[in-house]
Symmetry: C2
Subunit: 118 residues, 2 copies
């Protein structure tokens, strides 16, 4: 299992060192509200283990990738937006605007989303 990364904001949210509005948790995932929401529902779903991005997670642990996506869907169900629809966004690297290098899935919905996606 990957080590906790000392300077990682999301590792600190996992340990409770930094507070967050947690909406769901499993043994291996955590879902919490984005502090700068871009829509009525804007939640981040992360693996508690530290992976830098989606590709690194996918390389390492098949079942955990699926669990992140299923938890993202569960967030949408919990917020009552699953039927209307929601967008999942994974940013990798600076051009995508990834600001925390701990893999996270944005769950965004509760409004009509536009195109292009940023």
């Amino acid at each position: 299992m990957p080590e906790k990364v000392p300077d990682c904001l999301f590792c600190k949210i996992v340990t409770g060192e930094v507070p967050a509005t947690v909406v769901r948790a499993t043994e291996r995932t955590l879902a919490f509200r984005d502090i700068n929401p871009q829509a009525p529902t804007h939640v981040l779903v992360i693996p508690k283990e530290h992976y830098a991005n989606a590709a690194e997670l996918a390389s390492a642990a098949d079942a955990l990738v699926s669990e992140v996506l299923l938890e993202a869907h569960a967030v949408a169900v919990d917020d009552g937006i699953a039927e209307a629809g929601y967008r999942l966004v994974f940013n990798t690297g600076p051009n995508a605007g990834q600001t925390v290098d701990h893999m996270h899935c944005h769950v965004i919905g509760g409004r009509q989303m536009h195109w292009p996606p940023g």
Copy 2:
């Protein structure tokens, strides 16, 4: 394995009935350029099998979810944008603007992406 869906545009791309600019293929995935690109790199990575959306795929087949993400990363490497960064987008339902109900991962990059993601 899910059946091909007769009226599904992406099932028809998988069979070759509808043409597409294919950039990568594995036994179970296909990657092709979006016909209405929103950035220098805009590729769709799909499972050849028909799943309606990310949650349905995640429910059904762990390894295939990872393969879609790894192929998405491989597209970014092939296009020379992996280091600079890229965005992955999964749309589910009408509010997200999902236009083809065959699960697909948008790989978008080659420019600075903006926030919010649509």
